[in-house]
């Protein structure tokens, strides 16, 4: 292990420790805590998008759709699924060794409300029967599974498409999903959104302290944990054969196949992996915010994730994540509107204009992003010297 690599580990470990202990200082500022949680959320999305687009070269504009699929799967499960200890005989249900998984009927918003089958069944159910909302982890599991499923479907479908078509298709996929969620009001509540329970409905005790359902510290650690886990998984994948192969596929599919790489499998797989991570982030964020609406799917959200990944550095997970965290904080810092003489500048919109311009300029003049070159400068600064030194050594050696 060379010095640079070690330096990277040291900086990384220090960074993680800093993030772990940060709540000690931040805890008095719920606003900063909220910012931190949101920035982790975006960091997960930006880094997983960079795995998809930067490493594998699959320019998908549908990444937020996978996130929404995760969040909505969990939210719908919380709404329509109950675990009971007795049969209702009215709802659709599935018996699993003494426990019934009950599917509630949609009560409807637009048309006349239909009665809740479980409420009606309560009269006939034995006394003492327990009715339970599915726990958060079950929703998380459902969200992840659905994310993986849709990642698989989209991945298999767009496999043969060239980059332009892939971009067109995924942008359309995202829009269609938003249309479906907005339109199926009776199930999804449309624009008014689905409420989601807090991550820890009953509160939780951490480090000997009690935190209520609304406290920011538990979701901070939940999101940070997800961030670290997904970074660890993606980092491991990126440095293993998976990463090697998807980058080879990005560079030249045909050549990769001729060298024995199963192109189809890895292309689908990278969709599945990134979709799953995005979906998991969506579930946690949904529970943290407490409500999920179709507006998380607007193009702006996708644009932000892309801007974060590109400005940070598309071809590096860490750069994309750092870019996301920095930009999320900058978005907040630039929030304050101000007046210049008679003109009032509405910064809530102008900051987006600024990041749009920055995105274009970065692409035009710094394809590798603004953060990534710093990292490579540290990690690769001796490659040039090494090449020169090796060449000199080879020249000095007598010809064999």
């Amino acid at each position: 292990m060379n010095l640079n690599r070690m330096g990277g580990w040291v900086v990384g470990t220090l960074g993680v420790i800093a993030l772990l202990v940060a709540p000690v200082w931040l805890t008095n500022s719920p606003y900063l805590m909220h910012l931190a949680i949101t920035s982790f959320f975006y960091a997960i999305l930006a880094s997983s998008w960079s795995l998809l687009a930067g490493y594998a070269g699959q320019f998908s504009f549908g990444h937020m759709a996978f996130m929404a699929i995760g969040a909505y799967s969990a939210a719908l499960m919380g709404y329509y699924v109950r675990f009971t200890t007795a049969a209702t005989n009215l709802c659709r249900e599935l018996s699993l060794g003494g426990i019934w998984i009950v599917l509630l009927n949609p009560q409807g918003v637009t048309q006349t409300n239909t009665p809740n089958c479980l409420e009606m069944a309560k009269a006939t159910m034995p006394v003492g029967a327990i009715i339970m909302q599915p726990p958060v982890w079950a929703g998380l599991l459902a969200g992840i599974l659905m994310g993986a499923l849709f990642g698989f479907l989209v991945g298999s479908l767009v496999l043969r498409l060239r980059s332009t078509y892939l971009a067109l298709f995924t942008i359309g996929f995202s829009e269609i999903l938003r249309a479906v969620i907005s339109a199926e009001i009776d199930i999804t509540q449309g624009q008014s959104g689905l409420k989601m329970s807090p991550l820890f409905p009953g509160g939780i005790s951490l480090f000997g302290m009690e935190f209520g359902a609304a406290a920011k510290v538990p979701p901070y650690y939940a999101m940070l944990l997800l961030f670290l886990i997904s970074m660890a998984i993606m980092g491991w994948l990126a440095s293993s054969r998976f990463g090697l192969f998807i980058r080879a596929i990005r560079e030249d599919e045909e050549a990769a196949a001729a060298l024995g790489v199963h192109v189809v499998r890895y292309k689908v797989l990278v969709f599945v992996v990134t979709a799953t991570i995005a979906a998991a982030a969506g579930v946690i964020q949904g529970h943290y915010i407490g409500i999920i609406t179709p507006n998380i799917l607007i193009i702006l959200q996708m644009s932000l994730v892309i801007a974060m990944a590109v400005i940070g550095g598309l071809e590096s997970l860490v750069s994309a994540a750092i870019g996301a965290i920095i930009i999320e904080f900058m978005l907040e810092l630039l929030r304050n509107s101000f007046d210049i003489g008679p003109f009032s500048v509405d910064m809530t919109t102008w900051r987006l204009v600024f990041f749009g311009a920055l995105l274009m300029l970065t692409l035009r003049f710094r394809r590798n992003g603004l953060i990534h070159p710093l990292i490579t400068w540290f990690s690769r600064r001796n490659v040039g010297q090494e090449t020169v030194a090796n060449r000199a050594a080879a020249a000095a050696a007598p010809d064999a």
């Binding site: 320019f59 504009f61 980059s163 339109a183 199926e184 702006l300």
Partner: protein, 415 residues
Amino acid sequence: MEHGAIFGWTMLWIIFWGIVGGIVTPRVYERRNLDVSQARLGGTAIGAATGPIGLIPLWVFSPTLSSRWITAAGLLIVAILAVAFARADPNNLCVTNGGFVASQLTNGIVIGIIYSLMALGLTLIYSILGVVSFAHGEFYMIGGMVVYYMSVSALFENANPLVWLLGAAVVTFLMGVAFERMFLRVMNTGQIERPKEYAILVTFGLAFFLQYATQALVGANPVKTQRFFPFPNLDIPSQESAWLIKTTSGNIRLFDAVSIPNPRFTAAAIAVILLLMLMWFLYKTWTGKALRAVSQDQQAAAVAGINPNTMNTLAFGMGAMLAGLSGATLVQVFAWLPQVGIPASARAFVIIVLGGMGSLPGAFLGGLLVGLVEAAGTGCIPDTTRAAAYIPAYGMVILTLTLLLKPTGFFGREL
């Protein structure tokens, strides 16, 4: 729907046999060393239209699949679906009221013409630069904004609406030219690695930038202009029985059945004039010929002395202008917001893929078809709010089917 099951089962039957035909037919053709380029589309169409009745002879005799066969099968599918729909929902307006159907179809064509205008801009850009502009919808939005703000400005308030349109054209053209010069020209110099991906991201970035720059400048409240050209009151043949044409200032009624709102009608009329002007430009002027030459063979055009850089800039500017003009005509139809370009550009993507990337007639035909499908979808689905919300979905279904069955579209030159 009273008997929704009929329609549902018909759909399932069609989808099932479509898939069977689409999977098996190419294999049969490949095994017999026949041309497989049409086999998947043809197999799917014939399977979906006729089920095993058509598929078995198809597999046994494996005739050459001409586009005529495929079109016939496509029409048959539409007919079967129409009959199933009529059986399933006999009280639907689309079944009972011929006038309503005619009206929907006409309105579909009317709106389709405007979609075509916008898609033509996108396809023009693609055929010359080889780039799909993800900011196309934003030029559309800006075209409408320019018209609205000219129409309320003290200076142009009383000007002829054509002046507003001219303003929209000039603004979007110049923006397109400036963007091409600043961000896309470098693609030809070899300075940019992987130019295709660069183009996708940088035009996407432009969309993001333009959308919020507009919002920052004018706010996010929906705006809409008055009718550009109200109809004169006409009653033909006579006032008592105006069965041929009857107009009020906001509506025109043809044959006592087909009714078209004024804004849509004028928008389509302007679009038709613009299309004719575009055709004149492309086919009769030197510059137009040069553009077509570049789109057909870059090298030969360069050999003939045509500067490709100039043509790239011009094509992008004109593409942006066409989008801007279609927005400019539609700002009297729809409420206008900075976000209005997103569904519009998604639709334009669908159209150019359906028509075949880079094909001008394809874009026109695709626009009409998408207009018709949307009209049928919105007009016939019983639940109107839901139908309206699903408008973008129809386009996506078309896009998915095109990509699966015939990725080159109607007149595609290449995938």
